[in-house]
Amino acid sequence: MSVIYILWLREMKRYFRSRVQMVASLGQPILYLVVLGFGLGPVFQRAGNGNYLEFVAPGVIGMTVLFSSIFSGLGLLWDRQFGFLKETLVAPVPRLQIMIGRTLGGATVAVVQGLLVTIVCVIAGFRPVHLATLPLALGFMLLIATVFAGLGVAVGSSLQDMQGFQLIMNFMVMPLFFLSGALFPLDGLPKALAAATMVDPLSYGIDGMRAILLGHAHYGAMIDLEVMVVIAAAFIMLGAYRFSKIEI
């Protein structure tokens, strides 16, 4: 446990010491919230879909957690480049513990980021149906963070250098975000798009948060929860497997 804890603590210290990173990471969600929330709001309302800011807020929170968690997993590339990974890989501890410590750390940072964006959303006018449901939303944030931190570790373990980073951004992270239904309702989509959203794990995470925070969902909170738990377990195992195969 002490190994997992010390590596989790490392991620926390790195995050809280990097004020610039904390502030910078809020920029994109705020932009989405303000520009889309207020910009598309009137159109959304005229179409009879209600308040767009209320709708998009869980999507923006999910986006924040997605980006933060997947980048924490990909942070493995930086540790590989700047040497710290070697220090952990030659240590007499199972790689699974190292991977879990890193993943939990990255997931926790992502949840903290998600909470900060939740506060920003509330300031912008977002109101959950019940404040008492916030801890449940936190649970969904943690699940999203675990899923994508695990995926990030799996991908980061498979890449040798940062040159694959842009590829991951363009062909994995952005499609995950845009196909999740973070910005649009999942009802009435063309079949191909609906199929794509169904295989995107983030769509279940965001749908779960909408179920908790707004009281309505596309798939239903229980299905969202079950799918996210299964995918989290699968990606953690995938990440652990890929991490165990790293050679430097």
Partner: protein
């Protein structure tokens, strides 16, 4: 203490280490010398479980690292050629993580960290983030960290790279001290032949992945009819400059520099 037999490492069609065999006795200081790209670091990576050999066998303190990785890892410490510290953490925190990873008990860990940081003259900066350290200070911290869990075998991959003469002198005095008092086996690589001549009991010379000579510094000089270890080294490996193509790590470093505006 270290037994290597017919070790081979290939990367695609390139053979980095080619049928290398040698033994290092307990309490011995063994210098592993070679030109750039000769296969020194690849050999150390295999010895320290970072790379799996393509063929051949390794034994560390009677253990096979291929089948008994964690037990083997408990026996050695390593100072890498490239930096391996976390710049966002303080000197103390870097040491603390190392101590936890090597299961050093809390009280002993803190005593050892204090002793080593004082010994390597970093105690006053223990609460500073490592990214604010000079290159020499970072190197000293890495070396101090390598000693933290009192390993039976210490791998030093070009440990004095970037150190001033005072720090180099301090390092080798410390290495010799732990070698004598704790019978720590030391396996080192360096490009400073005078250092190898001064501290090593035996020397192995590798070139183009093959071990071309093993013996005491005096034996190598005698066999090559030269006056110094550097001359013996040149006699064994030739005087042509070796070109190393930039590895993926170097390319990535360039990329990171570009991203951070050259601040890293």
């Amino acid at each position: 203490m270290i037994r290597v037999q017919n070790l081979v490492k290939t990367f695609g069609t390139f053979t980095a280490v080619d049928d290398v065999s040698f033994e290092v006795a307990e309490g011995e200081i063994f210098a592993f010398l070679g030109p750039n790209g000769a296969g020194k670091t690849t050999t150390i990576k295999m010895l320290t479980t970072l790379l799996n050999p393509t063929r051949g066998s390794i034994e560390l303190d009677g253990l096979n690292p291929a089948t008994n990785k964690n037990e083997a890892r408990r026996r050695f410490g390593i100072v890498f050629q490239d930096p391996s510290l976390d710049g966002d953490l303080t000197a103390w925190e870097n040491m603390e993580i190392h101590g936890v990873l090597y299961h050093v008990p809390h009280k002993v860990r803190h005593q050892r960290i204090e002793t080593l940081l004082k010994q390597f003259e970093l105690w006053d900066r223990r609460k500073d983030q490592v990214k604010k350290f000079s290159g020499g200070m970072k190197r000293r911290l890495e070396i101090a960290r390598g000693f933290l869990h009192t390993p039976k075998i210490l791998f030093l991959d070009e440990p004095t790279l970037g150190l001033d003469p005072q720090s180099r002198n301090q390092l080798w005095n410390h290495v010799k001290k732990v070698n004598e008092t704790e019978q720590t086996t030391v396996f080192l690589t360096t490009h400073y032949m005078d250092e190898a001549d001064r501290v090593a009991h035996r020397v192995g010379v590798i070139d183009h992945g093959k071990l071309v000579a093993v013996g005491t510094p005096a034996e190598l000089k005698e066999n090559t009819r030269t006056e110094s270890l550097e001359e013996a080294f040149l006699a064994l490996t030739g005087s042509s400059i070796r070109d190393e193509s930039a590895g993926s790590a170097d390319q990535m470093r360039q990329f990171a520099k570009m991203w951070s505006g050259g601040k890293r």
